[in-house]
Symmetry: T
Amino acid sequence: MSDPVYKKIQVVGTSTNSFSEAAANAIARAAQTIRNLSWFEVVEQRGSISDGKIQQYQVTVNIGFRVE
Amino acid sequence: MSDPVYKKIQVVGTSTNSFSEAAANAIARAAQTIRNLSWFEVVEQRGSISDGKIQQYQVTVNIGFRVE
Amino acid sequence: MSDPVYKKIQVVGTSTNSFSEAAANAIARAAQTIRNLSWFEVVEQRGSISDGKIQQYQVTVNIGFRVE
Amino acid sequence: MSDPVYKKIQVVGTSTNSFSEAAANAIARAAQTIRNLSWFEVVEQRGSISDGKIQQYQVTVNIGFRVE
Amino acid sequence: MSDPVYKKIQVVGTSTNSFSEAAANAIARAAQTIRNLSWFEVVEQRGSISDGKIQQYQVTVNIGFRVE
Amino acid sequence: MSDPVYKKIQVVGTSTNSFSEAAANAIARAAQTIRNLSWFEVVEQRGSISDGKIQQYQVTVNIGFRVE
Amino acid sequence: MSDPVYKKIQVVGTSTNSFSEAAANAIARAAQTIRNLSWFEVVEQRGSISDGKIQQYQVTVNIGFRVE
Amino acid sequence: MSDPVYKKIQVVGTSTNSFSEAAANAIARAAQTIRNLSWFEVVEQRGSISDGKIQQYQVTVNIGFRVE
Amino acid sequence: MSDPVYKKIQVVGTSTNSFSEAAANAIARAAQTIRNLSWFEVVEQRGSISDGKIQQYQVTVNIGFRVE
Amino acid sequence: MSDPVYKKIQVVGTSTNSFSEAAANAIARAAQTIRNLSWFEVVEQRGSISDGKIQQYQVTVNIGFRVE
Amino acid sequence: MSDPVYKKIQVVGTSTNSFSEAAANAIARAAQTIRNLSWFEVVEQRGSISDGKIQQYQVTVNIGFRVE
Amino acid sequence: MSDPVYKKIQVVGTSTNSFSEAAANAIARAAQTIRNLSWFEVVEQRGSISDGKIQQYQVTVNIGFRVE
């Protein structure tokens, strides 16, 4: 059996600046412990508010990586 | 009964520049009349097009705030 | 029958920089061959990863335009 | 900040005659207290039955209006 | 145990005239064999086309009735 | 390979009178340029409001037709 | 053909006390007329309110049973 | 126009004890300022965890009430 | 009223070999007691695992049939 | 702008034998008129029944292809 | 990069008594091997039936925890 | 606490032959490192196309296993 198999994990990245940075942070953190990260899917975008302003952007992503 | 209770309202922010600014505008406007805004959830992202370019970014967000 | 009728097509824009640029690219490409583009709806946000970093942002949008 | 901001409320209109009239009733009632109603979205269609016939049509609509 | 219990069945009504009549037909047919029909929920609206015109309206409804 | 194949397109019909007419308009317009229209599925029902009344009914339908 | 086949029915249980009891009531009622009930899935949780308090808990469950 | 019209608001109740109490709290709080509460629908169930135990149950409910 | 009316039931077919056979089993079983089976819709695909291999394929289908 | 852009179309393939063949037929037909087909997504699986047996497998797929 | 990152895992808790206990069991078990559990989201509620009574409550929860 | 607890992981199996084989490959791979695999749920079916033919079948499955 040589057909590739992938695993998806769900990670929530956060950022005080933007949803883009939050997604990048999620992926950067996953890359610290997992090799072969291949793709991601945005599942949810939300955030916290403080003093009437967005305080933290939160992006939930599914991250797919090849299982070796 | 001292358990906190929250209310969610649905607001559509717009911007000529980006989805991020549209979301920020929605929250800034809600903050003008409501205190204790606590979190938001992105519900929908869409926009209008003019002359083949994005004219307006529109983001629908649920905004949660504590009911005093 | 003079009530306007619209058609929606589904396009996937990509960008190496951001989801915003990916959406803009989808719309710019559609505008090359279709007139009267009127609105868009974000359907899906995903992307590819390379070397632990986001390599390509991919945004699927429904694009609505008036049928003449 | 001059980008328009909208609020969506959820209203259930009813009618003994049709879903169309139920939706119209929801919007007419909202228009009594809110200015600038701009668009609506049908969220749910249901109704009650009595003596084997539709007794009441019920339509849940999201109604969007510009916040001044 | 005297709390009421209901059953939901799924019925597809059709009509050559309108979705409203299709829904009414679904309920009328169910009423021929089931007593105590109480409410309905529209689940799906579709139809067939012939010669470029709507030939048949099809409405799928969940119908709830009290189990005696 | 003689098994029939169908294509679905997404069309938004509008009407100042009713959702039914909006759906009929979508299908009538599609029939002007496409043969063999076979079925439709209602995907979304919304509309615009003016002066507190429904101004335009908008129905998004998927229309299926046989590819010859 | 000896592979087991199951049927799912949809039942709404109610209770003046809790969602748990409402679900239990739905299943108890189904068990009066159907043998081999095997599993259930919660589909919807709602209820009625009277005098500002929950009056009735309503749980819609899919109930699966083996067809003999 | 005498057909009843209802409004739905979205409220998040919390409790340190159970989801049931969280829902009851949401409704009790809404009843302090709104008359004619009629029904509720559970939209989301979540909660916070502290020291490996559920610290707070959070239930988002849509609450419907008749507009007078 | 001569417009056809259909009923949909939900059946779970199983097979030790494939999803296709599981679906076929569901339909074959329904055909033993119901006439005029007309169409089916796949609702869910799942299965059990034993010793690291698929032991049973389970397909939930909605089956539509004309009510005479 | 050299970022690739893709278009998705929705096609329904059919087969008297299996869902797999139905999907393959949808893609084979699309390939007759469109170049650069790149990926597909299964959207819906259904079929027709005749004499208590599956007569036709129907698979709706979204097919993505690069716009040159 | 000091923005917190979270991981979500999906756990199914069971109980012979209630959905609440099933959720608590899922979280208690996760806490045995994972630190910093922060929140949970109810994804699915189902259960098994034996002798016409609920035998086992099953709750699927997403559990979020901070990645250190 | 002796109530069983399960964990669900999400795996994408691939195959050049069929969706069935892709699902089987996902489960076989998971079984190499995890004991007690108990059930699976199909979450997504998609694939890649090359030269107008299906090149790779991709099935995303949730796999449940008992946590010892």
